[in-house]
Amino acid sequence: MTQTFTVFRASLKMLLRDRTALFGAVMFPLFFVLAMSIFDLRFERMSGVPASDNYFDFVLPGLLALGVMNFTLVGIATSVTGLRGMRILRRIQATPLRPARFIAGQIGARLVIALGQLVLMLALGVGLGGAMRGNWLVVLALGAVGNVVFLGFGFAVAGRASTVDGAANLASLVTLPLMFLTGLYFPLEAMPSVLQGAARWLPMTALIDAMRSVMLHGLGLGDLGPELALLFVWAAIGVVAARLSFRFGG
């Protein structure tokens, strides 16, 4: 436990000190929120969205999920691959530290930053007029669960890639479908029904649906049973995949 904590503390320091990476991770999602707020759009057919809401209200919960996913999945995949490239992981492999503790410490540190980022995005979104009818803490809790899913995926990608560029490409292969096949930008109902059926099982869909239910309809965690169940299953898959494919050396 103490080893997980020392890895967590060291990883958090590293994330906070890598100013350019941190700046990018914080600024890009904020820019997305800002850019989307400019357009005054309204769709005819947006099931489950209150009639008074416009496109920004609809898309903001998705942007929060997107910010979480990009920072965690792409961030962890490239940074862990980079550490391996510099043979830093090889050096850790020569110590008795167990891989699971290294993974847990890294996930914890990224989680802290990602939740801070989520608060900033939510604050900006609400400040720009986005709907927020639920509890902020519920949104954060959802963000945390989503984070664990995507961090697990990120580690799995890092386990497969041998270079940082390779890791970035492989991570995009995972994030792109999650961006466009999940009703993030446009309602799921507007997609062919076959794709809709598949999209229902993706973790990003569950995360976005849950966030929308909280932010547009003011639901609480107790109302989100199916979405949470699916997210927990994906979190378990992600953590197992991380542990199985992760390697210090190579």
């Binding site: 020392t6 000190r17 830093i88 090889r90 492999q93 020569a94 008795p96």
Partner: protein
């Protein structure tokens, strides 16, 4: 009686710092075949010694070390440190060894004392980061990042980082490669002091003959995945069978007959620029007689040097043969 003879080999294995038995590591090669990076290596490192692996790049030194450290799986054979098997007892073994890897690095955004603190936390036994930094004269750099250190400082840090768990056996992979002569000397003194003052067994690889001769109590010369010779530096040199040479110039010239008649001279060579070389298995007999001869004939001796054969000669003898062999093979 029979019990004692059964337990005796095991006692030896526990007492030894490192045992390597018929180690083989085979990698697939790009042409679809395979090559032996390590081709059947056996040796023992006793506790308290500095053991040097000397060999050209690609000789299999690093692979051997990484298998012993439990970082790479062997194809066959077994390795153990302090009686702990590198594969089976990996975690227990890692608690008791310190490792400095070739060309590895540390987290770029952590300060030196934070790095030592972090790595120390991975072990059951840990030493104080500030004591460690003091040990290598880096106290003033405790809050510095690795990137701001000079090559010598970074290398001293990577060696002291291998001591965070107060290990019994320390593995150093090319600890002085790329350092300037001054920094190299500092690292040598550090390694000697870790061995002498802290009683730690040290296993190091190098391709510097000078380094092996200066540091190592015993040297294994490794080439093409095999150990070609293993002995003390002096033992390796005497095995070569080459005698020391006394070299000088003189005004006026001394005649060959007089020089050959000096006691202990077994050969003579004269180069076109007037340099005389006397082959002398025991230079202590020849040098006084040479001085006497020179003063009797009022000859001025200049630039007198006694050249003892070095580990470099041994190394060239062994790897030189190999080089011609491999050229012949690739010609085919």
């Amino acid at each position: 009686m029979s019990t004692r003879s059964l337990t005796a080999p095991r006692t030896v294995a526990v007492d030894a710092a490192v045992t390597v038995d018929r180690l083989v590591k085979t990698y697939p090669s790009p042409d679809g075949g395979s090559f032996d990076a390590v081709a059947g290596v056996s040796f023992t490192v006793e506790r308290g010694e500095i053991f040097g692996f000397l060999g050209p790049n690609g000789a299999g030194k690093t692979t051997t070390l990484e298998i012993v450290e439990g970082l790479t799986e062997p194809t066959s054979g077994s390795t153990a440190v302090l009686g702990l098997d590198s594969q089976r007892d990996r975690i227990a073994l890692l608690e008791r060894i310190g490792v400095q890897l070739q060309a590895s690095s540390y987290f770029p955004h952590l300060r030196l004392h934070e790095l030592l603190d972090l790595f120390g936390s991975f072990y059951a036994v840990r030493r104080d980061p500030d004591d460690l930094l003091d040990r290598v004269g880096l106290t003033g750099k405790r809050n510095a990042l690795l990137a701001s250190l000079s090559g010598g400082q970074a290398q001293r840090f990577s060696i002291v980082a291998a001591l965070v768990n107060d290990p019994d056996v320390v593995f150093l992979d090319e600890p002085t490669t790329g350092l300037d002569p001054h920094a190299r000397r500092e690292v040598w003194e550090l390694i000697e002091s870790i061995n002498r003052d802290e009683g730690k067994t040290i296993v190091l690889t190098t391709h510097s003959m000078e380094e092996a001769e200066r540091l190592a109590g015993r040297v294994a010369i490794m080439d093409e995945g095999r150990i070609r010779a293993i002995d003390t530096p002096a033992g390796l040199i005497s095995r070569l069978g080459t005698s020391p040479v006394i070299r000088f110039t003189c005004r006026p010239e001394l005649d060959d007959g007089a020089l050959r008649n000096l006691p202990g001279v077994t050969g003579l060579d004269r180069s076109s620029d007037g340099v005389v070389q006397l082959v002398a298995p025991d230079p202590n007999r020849v040098v006084p007689a040479l001085f006497t001869l020179a003063s009797v004939r009022t000859v001025d001796l200049r630039g007198l040097t006694v050249l003892a054969p070095t580990l470099e000669d041994v190394f060239c003898e062994i790897t030189g043969n190999r080089l011609t062999g491999s050229t012949a093979r690739s010609d085919r």
